[in-house]
């Protein structure tokens, strides 16, 4: 924050944008969030005519990156990547954060939770799986966690079925999937993009997804809602700024970001990676994030993670 203020004082500012814009990403380079941020940055760079640089601030489920954005000067030169964790982490009270600390620019994609089993699993359909669990089958589940949306989705599924799973959290969906392939777990809850390669390769089978409609990537996989289970758990990603940026800058950036989503190479990447691109403009994204935030606030309380 100090550095930002000092730079702001030292340099005479021309009309925005007159210098480089930074994009803070909560995840490591090379991953899905990072790639989405970098494609968007390139589009922004072409439209704004100034360098747009991605910075990775990994840690504490995104709290490190969110804090960096929250405390940055609202001068229009710092953008944050806004993942689903933004709706979860503030309720855990690791650091003082709220979705109200940010101005939201646009949503890019949604990626619903997918229930995946090994190809050799006895569970061939979602109904068979659900019936077995209801009937008392002991199912060992794994997911990234603790407290990832996949973990919360697993807990919510167990609650709706009136059973608890044997559950182990893993440091990410990758390690959880590895354990699934090795036969150490019966099923894994992860995002569709995180398992799609193994699904296409025939190593794992998707039983169902927790989206509000069929996934365009796997249209044949049923949703949990179609089985009468009201479960909606998904990862999403968008962009935000620290609160207090001039409305004119916000409006301009919103348009540029939405336009950046349309790059051909970006769309190709999203298709390969299994990302369901569903852009939302600023006002709708705010409504969406506030709904998500309220839902997760209730869930982390109900599941006993905070009092």
């Amino acid at each position: 924050m100090l550095a930002g203020t000092a730079a702001g004082c030292a340099r005479p500012e021309g009309p925005w944008p007159s210098r480089e814009v930074r994009v803070i990403v909560h995840a490591a380079p090379g991953g899905m969030s990072d790639t989405v941020a970098r494609f968007t940055s390139r589009g922004l760079n072409e439209r704004l005519g100034v360098p747009v640089l991605c910075e990775n601030r990994v840690g504490a489920m995104g709290a490190v990156a969110f804090s960096a954005v929250k405390f940055a000067a609202p001068d229009g030169y710092l953008v944050g990547y806004a993942p689903v964790e933004l709706a979860v982490v503030p309720h855990l009270r690791y650091v003082d954060l709220s979705t109200g600390d940010f101005d939201l620019l646009a949503r890019h994609h949604r990626a619903p939770a997918a229930l995946a089993v090994p190809a050799s699993s006895p569970y061939r359909t979602l109904r068979a799986f659900v019936d077995a669990v209801r009937g008392g089958a002991r199912v060992a589940m794994g997911a990234a966690g603790p407290l990832s949306v996949w973990h919360l989705g697993t807990l919510a599924l167990g609650r709706q079925l009136g059973r608890t799973f044997i559950f182990a959290p893993f440091p990410g969906s990758g390690p959880a999937t590895t354990a699934l392939l090795g036969g150490h777990l019966d099923a894994v809850m992860a995002g569709v993009p995180e398992v799609q390669a193994l699904v296409r390769g025939g190593a794992v089978r998707l039983l169902g997804i927790m989206g509000d409609g069929p996934s365009p990537i796997f249209p044949d996989v049923p949703t949990f809602r179609s089985e009468g289970l009201d479960l909606l758990f998904e990862a999403w990603g968008g962009f935000m700024m620290p609160r207090g940026v001039a409305p004119a800058i916000l409006a301009e950036l919103e348009q540029h970001i939405l336009a950046a989503f349309q790059q051909e190479a970006f769309r190709t990447y999203c298709r390969t990676a299994g990302l369901d691109v569903q852009p939302l403009a600023s006002a709708d994204f705010r409504v969406f994030v506030d709904q998500e935030s309220a839902r997760y606030a209730q869930l982390v309380r109900e599941f006993g993670f905070v009092s």
Binding site: P146, P169, T272
Partner: protein
């Protein structure tokens, strides 16, 4: 078949590929050799470029960086007792004593040869047995990883140098530091005292930089001025004599195998590989008493163990499409960017791609070998720099690197605290090896123990009824009992703690 010689040869005939490999290697040298700057940071610099160049060019740069970073990390480890990357921690134990004995050139030469040997062997394994090996690696679940971590921790006995008691003490300190941060199973903050910086635990790189780099600076300041060594005598002999080389092959081979295997397992990295390789070599050596005091065998085991992990981790990355570490994640990202999804399907359908990756790694290791042998002559001269300039530079780089890691002043304070703490411990003859080992393996042991117990619904039997887990626990028990057994045999016991040279460990 990815092993088709034509497929392997194609990239080696392309001047383009060599150029991009060179760029990657140069970046790797920079980020690898500066303590605090890591290969991951180099990857972050490279990632934007990988977006806009062809996939084979992106891979050439990434693999070049990866290959040279681990090698380069060994250079400051040998010359300054300050590892450039976590993978080169084990290289300080024998590499630095060698440099002190006036054989820096030989140590640097061995580091270059060991890196090449380890990578070469790991590529052979990747070509011949990637799919079956990756399936075997999958059999390692939480129970097995816990057992491996316990086995790794049991080597504290080996890396304690003179005094076992002092080694255990620093090991326990490491384990205690490892519990700080968000609980990996429940998500509750532990011992963070409300400091957001501690939520992710004590970050390892600043601790490493502090314990080795900064503590070394303080140690140099406190000790009488060093005899200025002549840089030329330092670097005259870069190759071991025929007599010395005879025993090294076996240790290089064993180190490579250990490194390959640790690399294949998705949850363990090159740092663990190097330490385990070093400890295994000590166990099998005819001269274990030299380990930690400038043993060529120990150095070659550590360097092959660290570098062979590259091919090993590529096995799981390519065969399963699951990134084992941050470097593999960037590699997968670069492939995805161009519509290629790594995984079993790609491995079967695109042998040309696997062959290209193997060829690029080979090219990078060749460039690194040449640089290592030529560079050793130049780098050895670092020791001719006058103490006050040299150590001031090390201090500046160490602090700068700690900050650059996450642009966090918290990391700088961690490094300084670790530096002071490490200096005080070393003055009293406490070895640093057990501390870093515990800090690396502690979280792996704890989270996998609890994960395994969650899956077994609390039954401890899971650790002994699974054969792989049982095997490693038995190995760990044997390692712990080894000093008692060998005392009876009265031969290969470690020397007494009367000589306070454990500061090199």
């Amino acid at each position: 078949m990815p092993g088709d010689p034509m497929l392997l040869l194609a990239p080696m005939l392309s001047p383009d590929a060599w150029l991009y490999v060179l760029i990657g290697v140069a970046l790797g040298v920079l980020f690898g050799s500066l303590p605090g700057f890591t290969a991951t940071m180099g990857l972050a610099v490279l990632t934007p470029f990988t977006f806009w160049v062809a996939p084979d060019q992106a891979m050439a740069m990434l693999l070049g960086l990866l290959v040279s970073a681990i090698f380069s990390g060994g250079v400051p480890a040998i010359l300054l007792n300050t590892p450039g990357t976590p993978a080169s921690i084990a290289m300080t134990w024998d590499g630095h004593p060698l440099a002190r004995q006036g054989r820096a050139g030989l140590a640097l030469g061995l580091n270059a040869i060991g890196a090449f040997l380890g990578i070469f062997l790991s590529l052979v394994v990747l070509l011949l047995a990637a799919l079956p090996l990756s399936r075997l690696a999958l059999r390692f679940g939480p129970a097995e990883y816990f057992a491996v971590a316990v086995f790794g921790l049991s080597t504290i006995v080996g890396v304690s140098g003179g005094s076992m008691l002092k080694g255990l003490a620093t090991g326990v300190i490491g384990l205690l530091l490892a519990v700080i941060g968000l609980d990996a199973i429940t998500g509750y903050p532990r011992f963070t005292f409300g400091q957001p910086e501690l939520l992710d635990g004590v970050s390892f790189i600043p601790v490493m930089v502090g314990l080795f780099g900064i503590a070394e600076v303080f140690t140099q300041m406190a000790s009488p001025p060093r005899q200025q060594l002549d840089g030329d005598t330092q670097t005259s002999g870069m190759l071991p004599t025929r007599e010395e080389a005879r025993t090294l092959w076996a240790h290089g081979l064993r180190g490579s195998l250990m490194g390959i295997w640790i690399g294949i397992m998705p949850a363990a990295g090159a740092d663990v590989g190097a330490i385990l390789a070093w400890d295994q070599s000590r166990r099998f050596s005819k001269t274990p008493e030299k380990f930690g005091k400038g043993s060529l065998e120990g150095l070659i085991a550590a360097t092959t163990g660290a570098n062979a992990g590259i091919g090993g981790s590529l096995v799981t990355t390519l065969a399963l499409g699951i990134p084992g570490d941050s470097a593999a994640a960037v590699l997968i990202g670069a492939l995805l960017m161009h519509g290629l999804q790594p995984g079993p399907l790609l491995f079967r359908n695109r042998p040309d791609l696997v062959a290209t990756i193997v060829a690029l790694v080979f090219m990078a290791s060749l460039v690194t070998l040449v640089w290592g042998l030529i560079g050793a002559r130049i780098l050895g001269k670092i020791l001719k720099i006058r103490d006050q300039y040299l150590w001031a530079t090390v201090l500046a780089v160490a602090l700068g690197g700690s900050y650059a890691l996450n642009q966090s002043t918290g990391d700088v304070w961690t490094a300084v605290t670790a530096g002071i703490f490490g200096f005080l411990l070393r003055q009293q003859g406490f070895p640093m090896g057990p501390l870093v080992l515990a800090l690396i393996l502690g979280p792996m042991a704890e989270s996998n123990l609890r994960r395994a117990l969650a899956l077994s619904e609390g039954s401890l039997a899971t650790f002994v009824t699974r054969p792989i887990s049982l095997l490693f626990l038995v190995l760990a028990a044997l390692t712990l009992l080894w000093p008692l057994i060998s005392r009876r045999g009265n031969d290969s016991r470690l020397p007494d703690s009367t000589i306070p040279d454990s500061d090199t460990l």
